[in-house]
Structures are given as C-alpha cells and as structure tokens.
C-alpha cells in the first residue's frame, strides 16, 4: 500500500475513497483494498444493525424520560464500525460522545453508554480492559490524549517492531466542528513533529450542531493534514468496507513507524445533534432525504442480497438479535440503580484529603438526620 500526501490533490472535486457504492456494488480503488471475505461483511452487517438498534432504543429511552440526553450516531454507523473493526486488540481508541459503534467494536456493553447518558456515572467501563477511552465531551481535548498515548507507545518500543501482535497505535475520533479547536491543531503539530503512531479519524457529518461545515473550513477537511506535513484522505463515511480498509491502512502505517494520518470520513448526521436539538430550525429536510439514499446499512444489505450471500433467515436472525439486545438494554436501563449520594466524594483523588473526608462525613451525618425524621 502506498499512502502518500498525493491523496490530498487540491484541484477539482476532492477524491473520495469508496469500495462499496450506495447501490451495493463493490468497486476498486488503486490504493486501498478490502482484504476480508464475505463472512466479515456479514459480520459488519450485524454490527451495523445492532449498533443502530442500540441507538434507536437509547433514543426511545430518552424520549420516555429515562435518559437525560442521547447523542445519536444515526447515519454514522459505517464510519464507526468500519474503523472500529480495523483496530487491533492492542490499539487504543479515544472517542467523542458519539462513538457508540466504536464502543461496540471494542466490546463495551452499550448499557454502559446508556448509564452515562442516564446520568448514573460519567463512564462506567474500564478503558484499560477495552482499550476504549472514556467519552470526552470537551471538543477536541482527546486528540492530545491520543497523541500523548501514542508517544507512550513509541517509548514502550512498540512501533515498527514488525510483530503485528505487538505494534500498536492509537486512533482518535472527532467531528468536523472539532477541527477548529486549538487542541486538535496542536495535536497535529505534536503528532507530526514526533511522528507519533496516531490515526486522526474525523467524522465529517457536515454539521456541528446547527453550523454547517462551511463555518469550520472552506476546503475539504482531509486537506488540513497537508498543512502539518502528514497525509490526509477522504473516505466515503457511509461505506463500511472503505472505512475499514482506509483505517486499517492508516493504523498499519502508524504502527510501522510512518507517523500520523488524517482520515476524513465523509458522512452525514441523519438525526438531531442530540435529543435536545431541533434540526428543523437550521436545515432542510431535502438534505436528509438525499442522504437516506446513501444509508450505510442499506448498501451492505444490497450487496449481501444481490450476491446471494445470505438468505432471509440471516436478516431475521440479526433482527431477532437486535430485538433481544434492545430488550436487554431497556430492562437494564430501567433497573439501573441510582448512585449512592456519598459516592460524590469517591475518586476525587487517588488519595483523598482530610477536608474531603470531613465533607463526606458531614454530609453523611446530614443525610442521616433526615432518616430519623421519617
């Protein structure tokens, strides 16, 4: 594979890496090939459908007042599953608040995500187990963490050893809006200067809440990388095969010691920014209709059906699995206990302070005083 800055051709329409058309046809790309078989594509299909179902169920739970808020990934499933499945076990991923599909690939129980948005915790999974960091809400901040973590991998001697089970990289997710943040650009500087093994995975869903991409950049985002001296590539973010292939190549490149790369997954936020948002205030429904034709799941289904790879039973099986998952999540959500009020004082420090211990005691006493009153 050759990944060079030449992907960043600046003339004409920005090149878009695509391996599966919206109609479900496989196409070739000179630089990126999909190296898995149809079994894998079936697996992707399952991932996509289950992820979307997680999203639907969580949205429903929010509507019913069970979650404070939910950030839907509707439309971005392919970008997340494709990139998520490209990761090796030893790679480490840094998400935003919307990477439910990547979480899925990393083995994080979706119930944990639901817990966060329900407000029982701020991230209940163990990032050290899943190699999937906690959600980061401050836009862009995690790009520096990913870069630093990648610098740590370098220092551990786990770049370019040639052993695919040892060489590691980080991947960091962020949105189109995030590219305007100082932190993201600083992470490009650090990653480039130190040649850190980090893949910058930007899901350009074309909106930052109500702001269209034009409010962040007047050129395609993947070209930002050129200004920092590393390659950028735009991939069809609704094409799970292309997202997989490009991310895998970028990770491989990073693990080998060739440094960072920016992957811009060109996609579309089909839903609202979050359940608190009302996109009718700022965008036309035609845009959504247009993007529905590019639905990331439909095209995989079309491929699988058209080529007779699966039968109706397969779809029914996945559907049943999705129903089961949704039911489990709903039940799990509804039975999720509220945290102990006194847990406010836990984990502020590794080693707590006398003052905090005192505050905890005082508050415990205060709470107890009400129990007497019952």
């Amino acid at each position: 594979m050759s990944v060079t800055a030449s992907f960043g051709g600046r003339e004409g329409r920005p090149p878009l890496v695509q391996l599966l058309t919206p109609e479900g046809e496989r196409v070739e790309h000179p630089d990126f090939a999909f190296d898995l078989d149809d079994e894998a594509i079936k697996g992707f299909y399952r991932d996509l459908v289950l992820t979307r179902r997680v999203d639907f169920e969580a949205t429903a739970l929010q509507r019913q007042g069970e979650l404070g808020i939910w950030a839907s990934l509707l439309g971005q499933e392919a970008a997340q599953i494709g990139s998520g499945r490209a990761l090796s076990a030893q790679d480490y991923a840094f998400p935003t608040y919307r990477e439910h599909g990547v979480a899925w690939c990393r083995g994080v129980d979706p119930l944990q995500l639901i817990g966060l948005f329900r407000g029982v915790d701020q991230g209940g999974w163990d990032p050290r187990e899943s190699n999937f960091h906690l959600y980061t809400i401050v836009i862009g901040a995690q790009t520096l963490h990913a870069t630093g973590y990648a610098m740590g991998i370098q220092r551990d001697g786990l770049v370019g050893t040639g052993d695919p089970r040892r060489d590691a990289a980080t991947i960091v997710y962020f949105g189109d809006g995030a590219t305007s943040q100082g932190d993201v650009n600083e992470s490009f500087v650090f990653a480039s200067v130190y040649n850190a093994p980090v893949v910058f995975f930007c899901q350009n869903n074309q909106w930052a809440i109500s702001e269209p991409i034009e409010r962040q950049s007047r050129i395609p985002l993947y070209q930002r990388a050129l200004g920092f001296g590393f390659p950028g590539v735009r991939v069809d973010g609704n094409d799970v095969l292309a997202c997989y292939a490009v991310t895998k190549a970028a990770l491989q490149r990073a693990r080998e010691g060739s440094g960072p790369m920016l992957v811009e997954a060109f996609t579309y936020r089909m839903g609202a920014h979050t359940t608190s948002d009302d996109p009718t205030r700022y965008r036309l429904s035609e845009e959504l209709e247009h993007w529905k034709l590019k639905d990331p799941i439909e095209r995989v289904k079309a491929y699988l059906s058209r080529n007779g790879i699966v039968d109706a039973g397969f779809y029914a099986g996945v559907e049943a699995e999705a129903d089961e998952l949704a039911a489990r999540l709903r039940a799990g959500c509804l039975s999720m206990p509220d945290p102990d009020p006194l847990s406010i004082f836990d984990h502020v420090y590794v080693e707590t302070t006398p003052q905090l211990r005192q505050q905890r005691e005082d508050f415990a006493g205060y709470l107890a005083s009400f129990e007497g009153a019952h």
Binding site: V138, I139, G177, G182, A208, E211, L356, Y366
Partner: protein
C-alpha cells in the same frame, strides 16, 4: 430600547429569563449598531438555550455571527473587534467550555486596558450559562465564577430573574470594561412580568435586598437566589426572620449593602453552587469578618457545592445546595 416583537412599546409582559435576555440583547443591538453577538450556534438555532433566537434573522449575519467551534477564537477575535470599535457579546455555550478561551480572558481581555495605560478599551461581554440542575452530562453544570472574580480587570455579574436579566445585560453591554455575565441556566424558564417602560430599578453594581429579615443574612446570586427566598419563606413559618440579598454583582462586590445587613443581623450564610474551597463564599466571609468583627454572633457560614467535580446528574441534587442545607446552616449559625 424595548424588544419589539413581544414587549410592544412598554406594555408589561410575562417573560422567561431566556426571553428577557433575548429582549435585552435586541434592545442593545437596536440602540447601538456596534453591538455584535457571536458564538457557537447563535444564528439560525438561536443558541442552545434560544437566548439569541431571531436575532440573526433581524440583524443579519454580520452582527449575529455563528463562529467556528473554538472558544479561544471567539474571545480572541472579539477582542480584535472591540479594538476596532465594536461591542461584541460572546456566548459561551456551556460553563464548562469557557476554559479553552480562559487565556484570552485572563491575559488579554482583562489586561488590555491596564497594559495600554488606559488608551485601549475592550468592551466585550462574555455570556456564560452557569450552574447545575438541568440534568446534564459532564461540563454542562459548572460554576466557575470565582475563577473570574479573582482576576483584576474583569467585572463579573450574575442575574437571577427575568427583570434584572433584561436590564443587566444591557447595562453590561454599555459598560466600557469587559464583563463576564453569568446566567443561571436552570432559571432560564422561570417567568416574571417585565415592564420595559419602568426602566432599570437597580444600578448595575448594586446588590439588592430581596427580603428583609433580622436573624440571619443570606447572601446569594444566580440560581441560589430562588433557593434562598424559598428557605426564607419556610424559615418565616418557624419564626425565623431571614434577610435575603441577591448580590447581582460579584466583581466588584457591593460590600456596603452586605455589611449593613450583617451588622444588623449578626449572622450571615453565603450560598453558592461552586465548590467551597476558594469560592466566592470565602471572600465574602473574609470581608465580613474583617469589617463586622464585633457584630458577628457566629462565623459566616458557607453552604456550597462540595470540593468535588459536579457529579453525574442522578445525584446532582445532593451536590447542589438546597433549601434544607440552607436552613441547616441557618440553624447552626443561630445555635453558635
């Protein structure tokens, strides 16, 4: 001056605080073409709290500016616009997101006038929805006021009700000093009757005694004002007379009003959401103690958030000072 859609010409209207600030912004923009509004999603969306609703439609994209997603950029360019003679009003989407722009506030905005020996003025207003109580996720419920009050060169305000908010935002915009303007987000939807014809009753940097009392002085601002008024109401039923002062201005503090009250009551409780340690309560307590030492029957007590991050929303109510915790402190003060 009055907002035209809803307020007509001076007829009193019932408005939420979000709407009142919206009307105040509109009035300021009508009064002075140099006033700009800028921030993330302030245009078509009208801001995530709809505080800038309709402004871009009426004043255009040049005066109501949807910015790139970068707080330092918003504040830094606002400074540049102010140097060119504009009066930018920046919206920070949530309290927790002001920190990427903190440097521009601390080292540039706050110091430009001083640095230039008074030659340059940077009349920038930074609007920050603050505080918890809306069941939000992390970073959406911070109370960072003391991180700004500590910084010389800034003026810091916190409104607590629609009427004040309407006038205070306009007064802030017409101030030639930079102003950090805190809006208690969980009170955005509280309503009051606003009579724009009545004019601002209170000067900008004045505290306001909202309820008189003799036993203990409650000092509060922003979201805690309602809480303290409720506490005073309950206390009244138990024959305790609490004085409630809405500080309104945190920098400068309106100390005479505070001292006068505490000299009379002999006891004070400061109530705020932000963590205890080096919070505003510390400053207010220290000032009162220095000034009213011999009048104090008990130390100034503080009812505050804990010295922890804001917890997940399911236990946020335990973190936030509420009526009971205020009354508990009042009891302690009286029993000292």
């Amino acid at each position: 001056m009055p907002g035209r859609d809803d307020a007509g010409q001076g007829a009193p209207v019932t408005v939420t605080m979000a709407k009142a600030i919206n009307m105040g912004l509109r009035a300021a923009m009508e009064a002075d073409p140099k006033v700009l509004v800028m921030g993330e999603d302030v245009g078509k969306l009208g801001g995530v709290f709809r505080v800038t609703d309709g402004l871009q439609k009426d004043f255009g994209e040049d005066r109501v500016i949807d910015t790139p997603l970068a707080e330092s950029g918003i504040l830094g360019t606002a400074i540049g616009l102010a140097l060119r003679g504009y009066r930018p009003v920046c919206e920070i989407q949530f309290d927790g997101f002001v920190f990427p722009g903190y440097d521009q506030i601390i080292s540039q905005l706050a110091k430009m006038h001083f640095r230039s020996l008074g030659k340059l003025r940077v009349p920038v207003v930074v609007r920050i929805p603050f505080g918890g109580g809306i069941g939000a996720v992390e970073h959406h419920s911070e109370s960072p006021e003391s991180l700004f009050v500590h910084v010389a060169g800034l003026k810091v305000l916190a409104c607590s009700n629609p009427v004040d908010a309407y006038w205070m935002i306009q007064q802030a915009i017409s101030t030639d000093d930079p102003v950090i303007f805190f809006e208690p987000k969980r009170r955005y939807w509280e309503k009051a009757v606003l009579d724009v014809a009545a004019g601002p009753l209170t000067p900008l940097h004045a505290a306001q005694v909202l309820r008189s009392g003799d036993d203990v002085t409650l000092l509060c601002w922003g979201p805690m004002v309602k809480t303290c008024l409720q506490a005073a109401e309950v206390a009244a039923g138990e024959d305790r007379s609490l004085e409630v002062i809405d500080l309104r201005t945190l920098s400068p503090l309106d100390l005479p009003v505070i001292f006068q009250s505490v000299r009379r009551t002999g006891r004070a409780v400061v109530v705020h959401e932000s963590p205890l340690t080096v919070g505003m309560g510390a400053e207010i307590a220290a000032r009162i103690t220095e000034e009213c030492f011999y009048s104090l029957e008990s130390p100034v007590l503080r009812v505050t958030g804990f010295d922890t991050p804001y917890p997940p929303s399911k236990i946020e109510e335990d973190y936030l000072p509420d009526l009971d915790r205020v009354l508990d402190a009042v009891d302690r003060a009286l029993a000292w």
